[in-house]
Structure formats: structure tokens, C-alpha cells
């Protein structure tokens, strides 16, 4: 595997993977739409993934890694599906391996447009892609690279809060579980999948080595920055009420925040040996 194209390379995860694969001597091209990656160690090409014509303009690669996904916008469900369909057709036509980055949210008991677009995408890929791997990362985190990002990960927003304010608002009771996975572990899993053509047409969950209550994650970040923060637990109904008033708060996404996250790492551990980074150590990269 010598060449890779990353769809959505200006995202936190996409930009990390692009640098990681470039470091493994893979020639990387990354697509972006509105946020051009600055001074990357890969070739950045603008591409609206809804345009098949533009995607097919980009030529042939050994593998297509699909991160791009809309989390906002009224048509995000349909647009995410359309982008994925184009990407599947593109990889099938060019004989490339297709790696789709889904989300741990597919296991949640919610019906957000974002989650449903991931569920429907997975169904489409398993039915139509000739050579695919689907990866569902749980709460990814890691260092922010010197890029202009499409958007920060929730973990970075939390770190900003801990650093700037003496109190951190926590949605609900803070006892819901997260399984944060370090971005290096996710990158390594993608890389290993690409290197092993025999491992194909699989769905892998990936999370960190431990499940942590959200309150515990806040405490660990506060410890890492030697800060004392007060966790202010705000009842979920306050956010749901706000969702009815303020349109940009998605009600179903809000519900997803308090779902317990559990990644079945055994799904890929049967094929690869990747030591998982505990959050206590990994959070020093935040």
C-alpha cells in the first residue's frame, strides 16, 4: 500500500492520520472543503464530496479513508449518505480499499440524524463496498496539531474549560461512561488494516483500555493541569428544554451525551496487537 486519500483531512482525526501515514512513507492526499490544512506533510485537494465529478477527478489511490461527516446542518443525514455513496462508488471503481470511520454512537439508543447517517452508511457499505473496513471509535482524543480545524473534538472543548474556568458544567449526573481512545491507537488500527489486505469486510469498535465516568475524565484533566475545578451538574432536561428554543442544539445529540459508551476491542484484537494507551497517560497530550 503506497498511496492513500483521506476524505476530510482538515478534521482533527483526518489531519492526525494524514501525518501518521505520511510518516510511514505513504503518499497521502487529503481532501478538504472550507478549511484548507496549512503547511501539511501531505497534498491537500479541495473536494466537495457530494460532487462525484470532483471526487473522481482526484485519480486513483490504493485506499480511501473516509472521515468527512457533517455534524451540523439541516440536511446532514442525507448529505452524509450521499458523500458515502460517492466514496463507495469511487473506491469500487478504482479498486481501492475503503475504510469508513463510523462512530461509537451507532451503539447508542438514540435517533440523532448524525447517528442514523452512520447506521445507514454502515448498512450501505456492507451491501455495496467490495473491500471495506468500518471503524467505530469511542471518544477520540489527542494532541491538537498546528492546523486550522473544521471543529475541535469535545475533549478539547473540555480542556479549554478546565484551563480557563474554576467550574465546569457537566450535563446530567456525570456518571455515564466514556471509553476515550487515544488518536495514536486509532491511527495504528487504520494503518494495520491497510497493511493487511486479508483482513477485509470487518466492523471494528475501538475504545481506550478502560471505561471512565465522565466526572472522572474531568478530574483527570484537572489533575493534569494541576487545577481544582468544581463540577456543576446540570439536569439533562435543561438542555432538552434549550434544544426546543435554540435550534442549533440537537435534542437527540444531547440525549447521546449521557449514553454509556462501550467499545468491543476484542473485535480487532483477534487480528492485531496494539497496546492501548490509558487515559491517565494519554491525557498529557491534551
Amino acid at each position: 500500500m503506497n498511496t492513500a486519500i483521506i476524505l476530510g483531512s482538515s478534521s482533527f482525526l483526518g489531519s492526525h492520520l494524514a501525518g501518521y501515514l505520511a510518516g510511514k512513507s505513504i503518499s497521502v492526499t487529503g481532501t478538504y472543503l472550507s478549511c484548507k490544512p496549512e503547511a501539511p506533510n501531505f497534498r491537500a485537494e479541495r473536494c466537495n464530496l457530494l460532487s462525484k465529478a470532483e471526487l473522481f477527478s482526484l485519480g486513483k489511490f490504493d485506499c480511501v479513508i473516509h472521515y468527512a461527516s457533517l455534524v451540523v446542518g439541516a440536511n446532514k443525514r442525507q448529505n452524509n449518505l450521499d458523500m458515502m455513496r460517492n466514496a463507495v462508488e469511487y473506491s469500487n471503481k478504482t479498486g481501492a480499499r475503503y475504510v469508513y470511520i463510523s462512530s461509537s454512537q451507532v451503539n447508542f439508543d438514540t435517533k440523532s440524524d448524525y447517528k442514523m447517517s452512520k447506521v445507514e452508511s454502515e448498512e450501505y457499505i456492507t451491501a455495496h463496498s467490495q473491500d471495506y473496513i468500518i471503524i467505530r471509535p469511542a471518544a477520540p482524543y489527542g494532541k491538537l496539531l498546528p492546523f486550522k480545524y473544521t471543529r475541535k473534538q469535545p475533549m478539547h472543548v473540555l480542556v479549554d474549560f478546565v484551563k480557563k474556568f474554576p467550574a465546569v458544567p457537566v450535563m446530567g449526573n456525570g456518571k455515564y461512561l466514556r471509553q476515550p481512545v487515544h488518536v495514536d491507537n486509532l491511527n495504528e488500527l487504520v494503518f494495520r488494516c491497510l497493511q493487511n489486505p486479508a483482513v477485509k469486510n470487518k466492523v471494528f469498535d475501538i475504545g481506550g483500555p478502560e471505561q471512565l465516568a465522565f466526572d472522572r475524565i474531568v478530574d483527570r484533566i484537572a489533575e493534569r493541569y494541576q487545577k481544582r475545578v468544581i463540577k456543576v451538574h446540570l439536569p439533562l432536561f435543561v438542555f432538552l428544554l434549550a434544544a426546543n428554543v435554540v435550534k442549533f442544539i440537537d435534542k437527540e445529540n444531547t440525549k447521546a451525551v449521557t449514553c454509556n459508551e462501550k467499545a468491543d476491542n476484542a473485535s480487532w484484537q483477534a487480528f492485531f496487537d496494539i497496546p492501548l494507551i490509558p487515559f491517565e497517560r494519554g491525557c498529557h497530550d491534551l
Partner: protein
Amino acid sequence: MNQKLLVTGSEGFVGSRTVLHFKDRGWAVTGIDLAIAREIPGVTKMPLDLRDAQAVRALEGMDFEYVIHTAADQTSKTILANNSAADENLITCLSRKKKVKGVIFMSSSLVSTSADIQYTRSKILGENRLCDSGIPFVILRPDMIYCRDEKKMIEYSRMIQKGFAVVVGSGKYLRSPTHLDDLLAVFELVLNGNRFPNKVYEVGSPEPLTMDDIVKTLALSLGKKARLIHLPLPVAKLLFSLKGGLDVEQLATMELDRVSDLQRLKADFAYAPRTFAQGVESFKKA
């Protein structure tokens, strides 16, 4: 023997100049539009509604090898339906004609942004329909096409002469204005070389400018100073919804930066468009 060209939208700003440009260079040009505004000796013109599938069949009996498709609805409330029907009918008809060597499809720089409005959706559908048709194509996405006698330039010049200029929104959003002659030069490169690489190309000035700087540059070339008056977007929306003649959805995307990425155009056609400062300088010579 003369080469034969069909220009759709022949009475529009780009279409009418395209017709004259190629007619002056010895091409046999046919122009179609909803209604014919001006007959030109040596040019065949025909009123044709591309939304009417039956009427479009008339093109099958006409003699042309190349098509420049500039016709598009940018202002009505049914942009998506109008443009989709027109593109579908035209491309279906062209697919049946054996003699068509290539199509230049005029898309828009808005497709290279995150704008998700009727107009961009219609352009993406058109791009994808063309991509699936098997007809050799070039898709161009120019930004803010201007020349000396373009409506916006005339309006701004008039205001500047009076010592002011009204700019919608903050004026800080970026644009990559495309001089009409640069667009026509790209048309020529494609058609004269019969080069249809089935790709999407952005066209625009190499150095993006804020809207404020565009007006200031124009004022400078006129040897005037103009006070900039920023019209808040909600006020502009209200005014234009009363006045009509502009897609209010497009107005809402005004603050999105439109920075042309010229790397594909330079690589495949070795063409570099002029800067806006060079463009307005050329007004003096015209």
C-alpha cells in the same frame, strides 16, 4: 471548416459574451435561451426552454460538436427544480447525439464551500449527472465573474464616483473575482485543444481579497476615495426579498469565504488568471 459550438444561456452575462468571443474567432455558434434578446449576424439563435424535455429534442437535429452550458436559474424560488430539469434534459439529449466531443459545464465557486442551498444542490446534481453521462467534460467553478461593463462593477463605480459604496454584510469575507477574459481564455484552451479531462476546475484570481478590499481596489483604479457603508445582512435580506431579483438563500451565504484553489487549473492547462488589481487596470485600456 468552422468548428461548431452550442452556447446555452446565450442571452445571459457570460453566455452573450461567449457567443461573441467565439463568433469573432471564426466558430459557427448557435445560441439558445428562454427568449432571444439580441440577434447577432452570423450567429444562429433559437428560443428554447431547457426544462421542456420535448422541446430540447430539437437539439438532436442541430449541428454542433461542443457545448458551453451557462444557462442556469439563480433567482427564482424553484432554482433546484428548474436547474435540475434543464441539466437533465440537456445531458440526456447530448448523450443521444453521437457527435458531441465535449461539454463545458458552468458550475459555481459556491459549490466549493459549505453552502447547502438550492442553487449549490442544483449545481452538484448537474455535475454528477454529467459525470455519469459518459460525455467528455470540463466543469468550471468560477467565482464572482466581472468585467468593465458587468452590472456590479457599474453599480460600484457609480457609487464610488459619488464618494461612497454600499457593501452587504461585514465586508470581511474573501472573494476571488474572475475576470471574464480569464474565463473565456480557459474556454478557448479547452475547446481549441479538445482537452476534456473529466475534471472540476476552480477559476478565480490568485490572490483572494476581502469584499472591502475589492471595492477599495476599484476606487483606487478610478482615482477616488469611497466611504464604505456596511449593510447588515438581515437588512439586506429584507430589502432583496422585497425587491426580488436575487436568491435570498444565496445572500445568506454571503459571509462564507470563496477562495479559489487554482492548482488543478495550473497543472492541467498551465493557466494563471489575473489578480483583481490587474483586472481593473485593464478597464482603463478597454
